[in-house]
């Protein structure tokens, strides 16, 4: 080996080693936070929720329970309530009764183990000039001394559980779908976090876990469902699911229970004697952005008589 080729070889080896070292050094953030350690082969190979066998599902639920116990020291019960036959859930909201207190917003976060810091809220309440439904006129961050303010209408908006949901069609991996009882759900373990569904949603109902969600262990709600309020990870999308872990067990959603004025009505729209059927038959209900053809299952109505007396029908959002 000549001196010059030896020098070339040494230079090459040195360059290569330096390059590899730089490449390894560039990856240190992953090692430092232990983000990679959380990945197990079992999780990587876990199939889509709808393709899980009974045994696989039981194993997954047990794994989630173990993770909650390890991370929070809380003995959680993770179940998987299935849709009941003959049930289609719907929501009705009396705009005249809503005072904009946002109790529903916070009850929802508590019920659903949503991240507190950064805060993730499924419900956004808009303060609008009375009689207007032009969303671009809405104030998202109203904070007056006392509520409600005169001359204002309050409009809480959450997932509208569309019968024709644009988000479901947009998801490239089928991680979000409509259940037989009409509620669109998300498999948090299948979502790749591309946020196409968020771009497709005309109601801004979906939220993304930009950072690892933080819920204080003391505030953790231990009754959990796979598709609803079990702890989520960073990098996945979530949204309102009509509290399926409660409603499929015969309870009301947390936001309905929290509302001090009874503005929120929830139920099975297929039950002819139910409250929802009564409201839909007797009130002039409206939905948001009907022109998009999304067919929301979330109805708004003006319950007070004065609204009925007002000559002008509700003005719908123009966009």
């Amino acid at each position: 080996m000549s001196a010059s080729s030896r020098r070339a070889f040494l230079k090459g080896a040195l360059g290569g080693a330096g390059g590899l070292a730089a490449a390894a050094a560039s990856l240190t953030p992953l090692a430092r936070t232990g983000a990679a350690a959380d990945l197990t082969l079992e999780k990587l190979l876990q199939p889509h929720y709808l393709r899980l066998t009974q045994e696989e599902l039981a194993r997954v639920l047990a794994r989630i329970e173990a993770e909650v116990r390890e991370r929070h020291g809380v003995r959680a019960e993770v179940s998987d309530h299935k849709a009941l036959p003959g049930v289609e859930f719907a929501f009705a909201l009396d705009v005249d009764q809503c005072v904009g207190c946002r109790r529903c917003v916070h009850a929802c976060a508590v019920e659903n183990n949503s991240s507190r810091a950064p805060e993730i809220q499924y419900i956004r309440v808009l303060e609008l000039p009375e009689g207007s439904l032009d969303l671009e006129e809405g104030d998202h961050h109203y904070a007056p001394e006392s509520l409600p303010r005169a001359g204002r209408t309050y409009l809480p908006i959450q997932c509208q559980q569309c019968a024709n949901p644009p988000c479901v069609g947009a998801c490239p991996v089928g991680a979000t779908w409509q259940e037989p009882d009409g509620v669109t759900v998300i498999d948090y373990d299948w979502c790749i976090g591309c946020r196409l569904c968020m771009a497709a949603c005309p109601y801004w109902a979906r939220r993304f876990n930009f950072a690892p969600p933080a819920v204080p262990s003391s505030a953790l709600h231990p009754r959990m469902d796979y598709l609803t309020n079990r702890p989520r990870s960073a990098g996945v999308v979530e949204k309102c699911h009509f509290c399926l872990h409660r409603t499929r067990a015969g309870l009301q959603p947390a936001c309905v229970e929290a509302c001090p004025n009874g503005a929120r009505k929830f139920g099975n729209v297929l039950d002819p004697d139910g409250e929802l059927a009564w409201i839909l038959a007797r009130k002039s209900v409206f939905v948001l952005k009907p022109e998009l053809g999304t067919l929301p299952r979330f109805y708004y109505y003006a319950g007070a008589e004065r609204a009925r007396a007002a000559a002008a029908p509700p003005r719908l959002d123009g966009e």
Partner: protein
């Protein structure tokens, strides 16, 4: 045969590391930028997309913009360059090879942008499970172009005339595939209802025009940087003229369509849509995107005018005009195509977006990675077609004047 191929690959590998000072400096800079990007990406994966400027309101930013532009540029490169193969006896085959190299590297960059954008990159394989057809089609497109490029380069290495059946059918298929992918990419967002900004009749043609400007701009810069020393004299002049004409035409088409869209928006409607008004003039006193879009348009207009004037005969002016055009395209795609659709939000909230440093570094890294692949492919193409890399000769790597695109 097998041994020849392996030897070719080995020599090509060595060649991609060795070169003149300019080439090595260029490759070193690209590697450093790519590693900075990897580091930023690792930080993002560890801490979440909170490291970006994205929010629940503005869920897509420069990653998705980069993805769309990379797909568009790959398709444009294939659509514009591969047809050069169809003409018998053309002296522009090298240019076609350059176009193929650009298409391949842009597909790689597009994949990089997708992975950077997902919140759970560890689950990116779910795409393969759920959309095997799409992933397969993308892979086949990549392989087709790689095959065309590889078979021609390898034949030149063996100093053998390639049979037309070896590459022409594949080039034709790749052009068809590029046409389909270009159409799909340009209409990618149109289907997302509820975002008025994307319900824009001229949106898709404007995207195609921008992509068709980006591809020749990169090719022109490569030629000017001496990336193809083989194409000397008349052939080089012809290649330069062709690419310059393509770039000018695409830029003018882009500007014309943009003018049409602006007229339609601000004069043809009772009131402009909120997102468009926000993009160009701001909304509620907030106008983070307006400076970008106006600089982009100004750069494009400047490039378009200069490219059609006589001063562009001077290589330095031509390179500057080309750089301005490319910068204009990059700026408009980064800030004017995706993000404005999210402002205001569907509930009327105005939340602005600006990329963070980490986000910009990730983009820089992906671009550098794509350029690394491109530079290596260009270097091999140039060496083979100049006869410096053949089966019979050991590669001459030390002292020739050469460089990548700069």
């Amino acid at each position: 045969m097998m041994r020849d191929t392996l030897r070719f690959l080995g020599r090509a590998f060595v060649l991609s590391f060795a070169g003149g000072g300019r080439y090595r400096a260029w490759m070193f800079a690209l590697t450093a930028a790519a590693l900075l990007g990897v580091n930023a990406c690792a930080r993002q994966w560890a801490l979440g997309l909170a490291t970006t400027g994205l929010s629940d309101q503005v869920t897509w930013g420069i990653y998705i913009a980069g993805f769309a532009l990379a797909v568009g540029t790959a398709c444009a490169a294939a659509l514009l360059a591969l047809p050069l193969f169809f003409r018998r006896g053309s002296d522009l085959l090298d240019l076609a090879l350059l176009g193929a190299a650009l298409a391949v590297s842009c597909v790689l960059a597009a994949a990089g942008f997708v992975i950077a954008d997902t919140g759970r990159p560890d689950r990116v394989l779910h795409l393969l499970v759920e959309l095997p057809g799409h992933v397969l089609a993308l892979g086949v497109f990549l392989l087709l172009i790689l095959h065309v490029w590889g078979s021609l380069v390898y034949c030149a290495y063996l100093r053998r005339r390639p049979g037309r059946a070896l590459y022409l059918p594949f080039a034709l298929l790749a052009v068809l595939g590029a046409f389909c992918a270009q159409s799909a990419a340009s209409f990618l967002y149109v289907g997302l209802g509820g975002r008025a900004f994307w319900e824009e009749p001229l949106g898709a043609p404007r995207f195609v025009a921008a992509a068709c400007a980006a591809a020749p701009a990169v090719l022109l810069l490569t030629l000017l940087a001496g990336g193809l020393p083989s194409a000397a004299g008349a052939a080089r002049e012809r290649a330069l003229r062709l690419v310059r004409a393509l770039l000018a035409a695409a830029l003018w088409a882009d500007l014309l369509l943009c003018a049409g869209a602006l007229l339609l928006e601000f004069l043809g409607r009772a009131a402009p849509r909120s997102s468009t008004a926000y993009l160009y003039f701001g909304l509620d006193g907030r106008a983070a995107l307006a400076p970008w879009i106006w600089s982009a348009l100004a750069l494009k207009a400047l490039a378009a005018v200069v490219l059609c004037s006589r001063v562009a005969a001077r290589p330095r002016v031509l390179a500057l005009a080309c750089g301005a055009g490319l910068a204009g395209v990059l700026l408009e795609e980064a800030f004017g195509r995706i993000t404005p659709a999210f402002v205001p939000s569907p509930l009327g909230e105005v939340v602005e977006y600006a990329p963070t440093l980490n986000e910009a570094l990730v983009c820089l890294g992906v671009l550098a990675g794509g350029l690394l692949a491109y530079s290596i492919l260009v270097r091999i193409t140039a060496a083979v077609s100049a006869g410096r890399l053949t089966r019979d000769l050991p590669p001459v790597v030390s002292c020739e004047k050469s460089g990548g695109p700069s």
